[in-house]
Symmetry: C2
Subunit: 338 residues, 2 copies
DNA sequence: TTGAAAGCGCTAACAG
DNA sequence: CTGTTAGCGCTTTCAA
């Protein structure tokens, strides 16, 4: 507290033991008499001593830190994942260092540099767009959430995501159950793998039920936000295309779409049904509560944390794996079964 | 990349210079010939070498990392601050390690331990409820956002927040301008200093304009969320208390309040005007766009980052300071001037 | 302008 | 059961 920070050496001196002994009782390995243990513990307690993690990390060539890279912490979906992740890691004594890439490939690269220079023991990459993997030291456990690098075929890597196919499937099912026949989908980001998977699930359900969905009924926005959803739906309406069901692959898109519908005096769900995706709060508390496919961010975060910790601890490369997290439809006011 | 990680020593050998020289060119201090500089730089470039930050930190007894402690990353207000903070820190070569306290005093304490053991160079504490300060090494620059510890009268500490008084003041002014006379306020967390300041600002404006606001018209929720806002307003309506203007000290509260009003068939803003606080997205995209006092999270984050960096760099204790960030009212559909 | 060497705080191998 | 010591990768005197 007062100026100089205390170290194992200080503790050792005060206890009349060696630093090695102190280290042993701190880490509870090796042998020591109960007597010394108590003596040392007492002094540690008294001075509220915490071993310097930098030194420990340097020595052991590993740290109790994992890094995460997300496109946008301000986005509720990512924030919730981080929340869950951090909570779990913390309970295991790990800390989380966080990088926001703002979707920039440039920044992503820099982040990775930082991460390895900082000696994090594990890396979690959410929704990366660039093939950042080549930069990574292949020894450090890395787990991708959602988007993943298809070239990720070497090294200590895993991939985790919601069951997006099932998500798309459920959305189509719901719309069809509501007797919608003329479907329209507004996808998430075009280049994204996740987008494709969701769309595939949607299309699969349509085909199963004998509903056709032409290509020109699938719209890909340039951004994924409220205004974009609104704009696209207005444009669709303007074009005269008939539709009675919309699947928006993002709740923000759905919220915008909903507003466009309501503005035009279209009854929801009577004339048009709407299903969103993500399960963030706007789906619950927007203009109208929106039926949506909710991703279990708490579970995603927890599973990711567990996995990365396991990979760190086992050290030996865990076999490559892809973990699928279940996804659910929550029915609210924008759909009604008929 | 292949197994072993490269170090200054390796670089030195490859260049036929000493590690000292390598270190010098990396950090651009001391002298070296242009020739050696180029040679060394080339090799560093070639191997994409990044100095081990653990070793550097250990040696220099400081790190390029700052820690932040927030109650809930999932909360948009905090998330946006973190976003801005991280972005700025990153641009200066610093990383951000993040802790979620979940409002638990127990966890807060642990977090602080972790933070100092990790040798972060600066700490940012958002909305801490407990007097966590005593635990802190007083040498490490600490900045409080919003709530601050009144016992914080020693050490390298600063305090930063929105101008909450002005926020409360503006809210009252708006309501009064809308010809509301029977005001009601639903505060944020009762124990919070910020709550008191907002309320003070509100009351000050009322008094200035000759509007009275009795104590029993100020409600303090036990939680600060949608449902609580809704419940309280329903209860007020049920009690028969007359009111024509509500100030909710949180947008979530306001959103809930709005729903209660609408559910009861009360016209907003014709019968009752409503002002929220924070400026998060629910205020913009909820049932109705809510007039609110918006906090400039981008600015808060940036100022906090700048301040903590300055404190770290100057090292000498900066004089104690309190930075006030301007706050604004954004008028939307829940108020209309008369 | 450069190199040799000490040392940051810690752990682990080895010796006792 | 405990102590001595080397060394993790880096920066920084001090000396050349």
């Amino acid at each position: 507290m007062n100026g100089k920070k205390i170290s194992v050496k200080d503790i050792a001196e005060m206890c009349n033991v060696s630093v090695a002994t102190v280290s042993r009782v701190i880490n509870q390995n090796g042998r020591f008499s109960q007597e010394t243990e108590e003596k040392v513990k007492k002094v540690i307690e008294k001075y509220n001593f915490k071993p310097n993690q930098l030194a420990k990390g340097l020595r052991e060539n590993k740290t109790k830190a994992v890094g995460i890279m997300v496109p946008d912490i301000g986005n509720e979906y990512f924030a919730k994942i981080i929340l869950s992740l951090q909570t779990f890691l913390f309970s295991k004594g790990y800390s989380l260092v966080i990088y926001n890439t703002n979707e920039s490939a440039e920044i992503e690269k820099q982040c990775v540099s930082y991460l390895v220079a900082q000696n994090v023991s594990g890396i979690i990459i959410v929704n990366s767009k660039t093939s950042v993997f080549k930069q990574l030291n292949k020894d450090i456990p890395t787990i991708y959430i959602d988007e993943y690098d298809r070239y990720t075929d070497v090294g200590n890597v895993a991939w985790l995501s919601s069951d997006h196919f099932q998500g798309g499937y459920l959305a189509a099912q719901e719309l069809i159950d509501c007797k919608c026949r003329d479907l329209v989908v507004i996808t998430a980001l075009k280049e994204s793998t996740v987008t494709k998977i969701r769309t595939n699930g949607f299309v699969a359900a349509c085909e199963e039920r004998g509903i056709s969905l032409q290509k020109e009924r699938i719209f890909s926005p340039s951004k994924v936000d409220f205004n974009e959803g609104k704009t696209i739906v207005k444009r669709i309406i303007g074009s005269g295309m008939h539709f009675d069901g919309i699947f928006c692959q993002t709740d923000w898109l759905a919220a915008g779409a909903l507003e466009a519908l309501l503005d035009k005096g279209i009854q929801v769900p009577d004339q048009v049904s709407l299903v969103g995706f993500d399960g963030i709060s706007i789906s619950q508390f927007g203009r109208m509560p929106i039926t949506t496919i909710v991703q279990d961010t708490a579970l995603i975060g927890k599973k990711a944390a567990k996995l990365v910790l396991r990979m760190i601890e086992e050290q030996k490369k865990t076999k490559k794996q892809h973990i699928l997290v279940p996804i659910n439809l929550v029915r609210r006011k924008t759909t009604r079964k008929k």
